[in-house]
Symmetry: C2
Subunit: 226 residues, 2 copies
DNA sequence: TGCATACTTCGTTTATTATCAAAGTGTGAA
DNA sequence: TTCACACTTTGATAATAAACGAAGTATGCA
């Protein structure tokens, strides 16, 4: 039984996957395929093996399937192995998405740490009304209307899209809500157009630019300690 | 690097070897081949791999080559893995030589825990003289002469053998001395003839019999807590 | 010296496993 | 319903590695 587990860890592509997940974040099959440097189909087989051995767990959310470490026991074992390997622990392979790439897109809106921070800040500023309801839907306060319009977002057109306007979308890997719906989509569009963030890797991860850092502070009063 | 280590642990025969060594004792290539359920040549390849990866260390002593875990780091990693596997730790495979088989032959005399206990007891009883010298040689006191003769050992013939009479032979796996030389050989011969011990596995390990347990107490005052 | 024992190295066969492309499944958005 | 996307399953190929016997090395003992 131990041998099955150890050999599951021991295959190089699978080792890269596990050590990438060691930061506690959940990642999709596609992201992990890039990290593991194998094709999506190969990664899928590896992920299935790791799941069967109980090393990782899977949460399906819509189109995406999020993989993460199964528990602290797994992290402990990986740590013990890296000590054996003489690696000063936490030293991942170069092309692992680091904590710096802390923003991700969730479908077409912004998730990840950055998305959560923005959501919380907008709520604190009193721009959102609601959110506690059954479907977590938001509407905008007068301040909110003014703010988003001033960012160049056409709220009238946004409301007319055949889509929920705004709601608290749970990014389960952060276990915190971010802004979903048509408004979330427009915010991401604006952020990318203004080059506050730039796409990265498989275009599901985002990096904060220097400009973005400045503008976040100026417009919303958010300081990112990246 | 981690993947090399994990896959070294992951092969079933190698896993058996490592978990057998987890009790801290050193074992020979032949013993480990039996534990791993592979041929001596295959075991040799596995042991070499484990040594290269830094998981076990090797001490050559005469004809024998003793393998043991390289350090506590290795034991920690193995423990972390067995927790992952849901094994309540320390639960080894059935045919692992257990602590019960605590006696071993060293060439033709008795080593292991039992050998050490006998050596220490004989010394405490004042049957041995010397042992502190350059070559750890022992001679016998009057009490010693009487005792071994009464066991049926022909000391005159033993002394005439073209071999050192008696000396403190270091069983490094116990880090304690036992009785080497012609006398050690005679003691083992007697112990086997009287069926205090019986050979086991590859005939390098011995099991204490019920009779042996009784006789050890009666003749030497040794209590084995097996 | 010669013989036995302990162990390793070599060479070959066999079994396992990782790999990818192509086809298939399921979901979200228009 | 359509398309696009995320991901998985399948099947065939290629690489890896474990197994053993036979031969080789080294040591102890007589």
């Amino acid at each position: 039984m131990v041998s099955r587990i150890a050999s599951a860890i021991g295959e190089p592509a699978r080792t890269r996957i596990l050590y990438c997940l060691l930061d506690g974040h959940a990642r999709t099959s596609t992201e992990l395929a890039i990290v593991a440097e194998v094709s999506p189909s190969t990664a899928s087989v590896h992920l299935n093996r790791l799941r069967i051995e109980g090393l990782i767990k899977l949460v399906a959310q819509g189109k995406h399937r999020y993989y993460s470490l199964a528990g602290t026991n797994v992290a402990r074992a990986l740590e013990a192995l890296s000590i054996l390997a003489g690696q000063p622990r936490g030293k991942f392979t170069p092309n692992t998405p680091s904590e710096l790439r802390f923003a991700r897109t969730c479908y077409d809106h912004m998730a990840g740490t950055a998305g959560v921070l923005l959501h919380n800040r907008f709520k604190d500023l009193g721009w959102f009304i609601g959110g506690a309801g059954k479907d977590n839907s938001y509407s905008l306060s007068h301040d909110g209307e003014m703010a988003f319009e001033s960012l160049g977002i056409d709220l009238k057109a946004t409301r007319e899209r055949r889509r929920r306007f705004a709601y608290a979308c749970l990014d389960w890997s952060e276990r915190q809500p971010h802004i979903g719906g048509a408004l979330g989509s427009e915010i991401l569009k604006t952020a990318l157009k203004r080059q506050w963030f730039e796409p990265d890797l498989d275009s599901r991860t985002l990096s904060l630019t220097m400009l973005g850092k400045r503008e976040m502070l100026r417009l919303f009063g958010i300081t990112f300690n990246v």
